[in-house]
């Protein structure tokens, strides 16, 4: 039986990927951040998942404005790296798992989650930066990756509650797959940040800390945070945190916090990271 064994929450700030790609990780600006992810990389190497389900958002790269799916599951064999405007990141192409993705689609839709099926898709920093942070810079990614793209670009994003419920449905879907697989679910984006308008640069460490605390203590509370509260308290782009709730939902009722890291800044972002194991 396939099992969701753990969840990873992490920011996916594009500047982090650029720092790695341009050899800047030892610079004073970046060193504390990459040091903070070292224990996480060790945990990931030890955990060695067979499959990662990567909950992230596309930033107007795979999807233009013709079609904006709320929940889109990547069912392809390969996902090429997008050129977001400065050339593609020099990282390996992402290998999917079409058979398992097809199973997830069937299970989720019959479980009343109306997923969009994506058979060709480029992936951007929202997906590749978390891979880099947790797996480093290998020649090939060490596991297969199923992308789950959530619309957080055009308001409204799906609510935290809906994301949490979809996570729970993903847990059920994974458990009904016969192959013996270790699955880790990522929730990416956030934490507090705003990258637009005169209010750009907003951060809220108090909000972020409470969010990190309650991922293990009281995820139900987090699932009831209304969209306006993210926007007002934690910045226009902090709405990405609903994707962390999708990850949390997939871990089942109990999750134990294994590691956390918090750091300001990466570009305009308060970077947060957490590892939770399903119990």
């Amino acid at each position: 039986m396939a099992r969701v064994i753990a969840g990873v929450g992490t920011s996916h700030t594009p500047a982090i990927g650029a720092a790695v790609d341009n050899g800047k990780t030892d610079q004073p600006y970046w060193q504390p951040l990459f040091r903070g992810y070292e224990p996480a990389k060790q945990w990931m190497a030890k955990t060695a998942p067979d499959v990662v389900i990567m909950v992230y958002n596309d930033h107007v790269n795979a999807f233009d404005f013709k079609v904006i799916p709320t929940f889109a599951l990547g069912c392809a064999q390969d996902f090429p790296i997008a050129d977001e405007g400065w050339g593609p990141r020099p990282v390996p192409a992402v290998k999917g798992y079409p058979e398992l993705a097809a199973h997830l689609i069937q299970s989720l839709v019959l479980d009343e989650f109306d997923m969009t099926i994506v058979n060709e898709m480029q992936v951007d920093h929202g997906l590749t930066v978390p891979l880099t942070l947790l797996f480093g810079s290998p020649q090939q990614w060490p596991c297969r990756v199923i992308p789950l793209a959530v619309n957080v670009v055009q308001y409204p994003a799906p609510t935290g509650r809906r994301c949490y419920q979809l996570g729970q449905a993903i847990r059920r879907a994974v458990q009904s797959w016969a192959e013996d697989l270790k699955v880790v679910v990522f929730g990416t984006g956030g934490m507090s940040h705003q990258i637009q308008g005169p209010r750009a640069g907003l951060t809220n460490p108090v909000f972020d800390k409470a969010f990190l605390d309650d991922l293990s203590r009281d995820p139900e509370r987090l699932s009831r945070i209304p969209p306006i509260e993210y926007l007002r308290e934690a910045g226009a782009e902090a709405i990405e945190l609903v994707m962390w709730l999708l990850m949390r939902g997939a871990l089942g009722p109990k999750a134990e916090e294994i590691y956390r890291f918090y750091h300001i800044p990466a570009s305009s972002t308060a970077v947060g990271h957490i590892i939770l194991e399903s119990r």
């Binding site: 600006y29 055009q154 750009a200 800044p265």
Partner: protein, 131 residues
Amino acid sequence: MVADKPYEDIPGTWIFDAERARAGYHLNQFLYTLMQEENRKAFLADERAYLAKFKLSEAQRAAVLERDWNRLLELGAVVYALAKLAFTDGRSYQYMASQMTGMSETEYVDMMLKGGRSPDGWRSKSEREKH
């Protein structure tokens, strides 16, 4: 027209909602084309000619030429598409964000290194006026 827009009360912020997305559709589709290197080159070679291929309003066209970032947000550009214009100019997200705040990039980076902007005084328009 969606009646309930509580986010319109957040100062210094343009939430990319359905109405703004509709107004900005062609603007954002123009920005999307800057994902490709040959388009970036063609745009920089003759911005007006390149823009003529898209159904932009005069105000949108002028704001692109002037790199009037906040005006572009107001006219329906979404920030992630707008970033492609900054990248085409050889600039970063951080540069674009600093321009939107009216700070120099150095001042903006300094603010972030000190922990970023506190939400105090920035939660609502009325709170902003008192501040």
